[in-house]
């Protein structure tokens, strides 16, 4: 039970979840956008999952495949390396973000490219590849519509699948008007002649048309494309990207050079395994029976698609997660985002509150493991443990169990590594005192009596409406009924005594 040492020691601790949540909760526009988006996707998912008579069997199959992959990860990765090389691809191994960024930057620089286009990729966001490329004077163009939106807004993603879920179309219209060349806006409007638009409307069709003009120019001129991958099939060295827009397909097929940065946990053994995930993923993520574009490629083929292919296999803390028998199930994630959409906490606070590329319930168990618990100790507490995430997870990751487990790591980290802080931490002190009280009946009953007395200064007009210190959060909008004078066990004892007396009287 140890997730105490972070792999990336340089990283500073993340700001707390509470601070991010407080900021988000105060934004009523954000709350409305999130509510609408999450509830729409939830309903779609529920419908298409409900159509599948063998959904539970599929989930179990997905879980079992991932478990096997994790148990033999070394074997499958070496197999993948060999098959990719046989198919004419180059394979690079990156221990951490720094190594991965250096590898990618060097490949781009070798081709003298000043611009690269990107397929939506969480893994490259995780290693902050865009910033690394920018530092070398290489400009990155995100081509996923939502990624483009947040890139233009200089923001970060707030959702795994729908990075701009926090924005509505009126906000996106404003952004396009403020950040795109007038010529591209005009050309986009021109494409919509049938509707005779004279100025950019906030209709999704109009916004998409503008983005289309903007992106087409890049697709046709870029020399290098960068992607991630949803799956990497070890038996043939085939990579797979699943998407909705077709912009990914453009990136993966048009530029002569393709670099794919892929986490080592994305490998699956065979095409037969892919069959399971291609059923689980679209239904769980976008609520579609099948996603519009599934691009599969194996190395390079002469005269068709990219002529140079690089696969960068990224660890960045993953082998450390793998070493933990309880926490490792977080690596099974196929990034569908069903857990985000169903989560009552995510629904209220959005993705930015988690301060990580991986938000929501899966982020709350993945981020602290990738960074080390000391860097993100508030995240495992960002859940009411309602269990909805576990029910919808297509590969049956027991997220509540891992959350509880990581809370254990956070507490032990505090107790074992921050001795002084732990000694003055009111929660730690209270928990230890209560554990001692609960360990004996006498002490427990004494504590009950103490609580009855201790509450007296806080009772006003028969109710407790203001508590001090760490408990103040309870009473901001909630009253508390005072502890009754008679505990249940006291009632029980008096009743037993009475019935004994009456029995004695009768006999």
């Amino acid at each position: 039970m140890s997730v105490e040492r972070g792999f990336i020691q340089r990283v500073r601790p993340l700001p707390t979840f509470q601070s991010g949540a407080r900021q988000a909760l105060g934004n009523s526009q954000l709350r409305r956008n999130l509510y609408k988006a999450t509830h729409t996707i939830r309903a779609k998912r529920e419908q298409v999952v409900g159509e599948m008579p063998d959904w539970q069997e599929l989930r179990e199959a997905g879980r079992a495949i991932k478990e096997r992959v994790m148990r033999h990860l070394d074997t499958y990765l070496l197999q993948l390396e060999a098959t990719v090389q046989q198919a004419g691809g180059h394979v690079h191994w990156a221990r951490d973000a720094g190594e991965a960024n250096a590898i990618v930057t060097q490949i781009v620089a070798e081709h003298g490219a000043r611009e690269v286009i990107k397929v939506k990729s969480l893994t490259t966001d995780e290693i902050k590849l865009n910033a690394a490329l920018a530092a070398r004077g290489i400009e990155v163009f995100e081509t996923d519509l939502a990624e483009l939106i947040i890139q233009l807004a200089h923001e970060t993603s707030s959702h795994i699948l729908v990075p701009a879920i926090h924005k509505n179309r009126a906000e996106i219209r404003e952004l396009f008007l403020n950040s795109m060349p007038a010529s591209e806006i005009a050309a986009g409007e021109h494409q919509l002649l049938s509707t005779q638009v004279n100025e950019l409307s906030d209709e999704p069709r109009a916004l998409t048309a503008v983005a289309r003009v903007h992106l087409r120019r890049k697709f046709l001129s870029a020399q290098v494309a960068i992607s991630g991958a949803n799956f990497a099939v070890a038996e043939t060295g085939t990579l797979c990207v699943v998407e909705s827009e077709g912009n990914g397909r453009m990136c993966l097929t048009l530029p002569p050079v393709l670099i794919s940065v892929v986490g080592i946990e994305k490998v699956i053994p065979t095409w037969q395994d892919l069959e399971v995930f291609l059923q689980l993923l679209p239904r769980s993520s976008t609520g579609e029976r099948m996603n519009p574009y599934t691009t599969l490629w194996t190395g390079v083929s002469q005269g068709d698609g990219p002529q140079e292919f690089h696969l960068v296999l990224l660890d960045n803390g993953r082998t450390q997660v793998l070493a933990d028998s309880v926490g490792r199930q977080a690596l099974d994630c196929i990034r569908c985002s069903a857990c985000l959409n169903i989560c009552p906490v995510y629904e209220r606070v959005g993705g930015h509150a988690y301060h990580s590329v991986y938000p929501g319930p899966i982020g709350a168990i993945l981020t602290p493991q990738l960074l080390g618990i000391g860097k993100a100790s508030s995240l495992p507490y960002a859940s009411s443990l309602c269990g909805a995430c576990y029910d919808v997870c297509p590969v049956k990751i027991n997220i509540p169990e891992v959350l509880i487990y990581l809370r254990g790591s956070a507490v032990r980290y505090k107790q074992d590594h921050q001795n002084l802080r732990a000694r003055v931490d009111p929660e730690n002190v209270a928990m230890r005192l209560m554990a001692r009280a609960f360990a004996s009946r006498e002490r427990y009953e004494q504590a009950q009596r103490l609580a009855q007395l201790g509450q007296l200064p806080f009772i006003h007009h028969g109710v407790i409406n203001a508590l001090p210190g760490p408990l103040a959060g309870w009473t901001t909008l909630r009253d508390l009924q005072p502890i009754p004078r008679q505990t249940f066990r006291e009632w029980w004892r008096s009743r037993e005594a009475q019935s004994q007396t009456s029995e004695e009287t009768h006999s």
Binding site: C386, G387, D391, G408, V411, R432, A435, G473, D479, F488
Partner: protein
């Protein structure tokens, strides 16, 4: 049947009326209730907050206190769920094989009240009478950990005189979540706000659930808002008769 009542420390101290209702209900149904007085706390608060080392002695204690019981019944899905779902994992995490064996022997005999009545005893009509407009909030641990299903609804619908009304978005978490309600008070309150709106939409006089912990949270907001809606544990409705109301 001889039923050992696992009252839970929370109900023992804060909601003794729920315990009294359970005793009256089970005795009315012809069962013998026994209350092992050595019981204290199942360790859930410690365990779920991350104080698992501190919870372990409490888990061992619980298994010892209830080890010889015929059946153990708790008026709390959360605490019954702790024993049934978490104890086996705890024994595994702490690599304690003896505890694992004792837990495995005990857990099939541990029930939350409504599943005990419906799934174990095969009852729906427990002879209750409660002529009020009532709505029911299914707590997360009853729904998604214990999977009590519609057992509470079947019991409530069979209550004579009741005007039962479905709660909109019933399966949404109320935002309590144990120490979550204090550690993440802002988010907890945002979740609670939506639950309170749903409850008000039903026009119910009483909001019922199987966990007093969630009800303390919900009831706390209803009281602060002067909403005129009470909260009550389902045991108190089921124990109520024409002669005596427990709510």
């Amino acid at each position: 049947m001889r039923v050992s009542l696992f009252i839970t420390c929370f109900n023992d101290t804060l909601f003794p009326e729920t315990g009294r209702a359970v005793v009256h209900l089970l005795e009315r149904l012809g069962h013998t209730v026994d209350f092992p007085e050595e019981q204290t706390c199942c360790g859930q608060m410690h365990y779920n907050t991350g104080y698992q080392r501190e919870a372990l002695p409490l888990i061992r204690r619980f298994v010892q206190v209830f080890g010889s019981s015929e059946v153990v019944v708790a008026p709390s899905a959360s605490c019954a769920g702790m024993v049934r779902e978490i104890y086996p994992r705890a024994a595994e995490w702490f690599d304690d094989h003896q505890l694992a064996a004792e837990v495995a022997a005990l857990t099939p005999r541990v029930y939350e009240l409504t599943e005990f009545l419906v799934h174990r005893l095969g009852l729906e009509d427990v002879g209750a009478y409660y002529p009020h407009r009532v709505t029911y909030h299914p707590t997360c641990h009853s729904l998604r950990f214990l999977r009590v299903g519609d057992a509470p609804l079947r019991l409530l619908r069979a209550v004579r005189g009741i005007d039962f009304v479905e709660l909109p978005d019933a399966e949404e978490c109320c935002g309590f979540g144990g120490t979550f309600a204090v550690k993440n008070a802002d988010t907890s309150l945002a979740m609670l706000g939506d639950k309170i709106s749903s409850i008000k939409d039903t026009g119910a006089e009483v909001c019922v659930a199987g966990d007093n912990s969630c009800l303390m949270h919900i009831g706390g907001a209803l009281h602060r808002e002067r909403a005129g809606i009470r909260t009550a544990h389902i045991a108190e409705i089921l124990a109520s008769t024409e002669e005596r109301s427990h709510v």
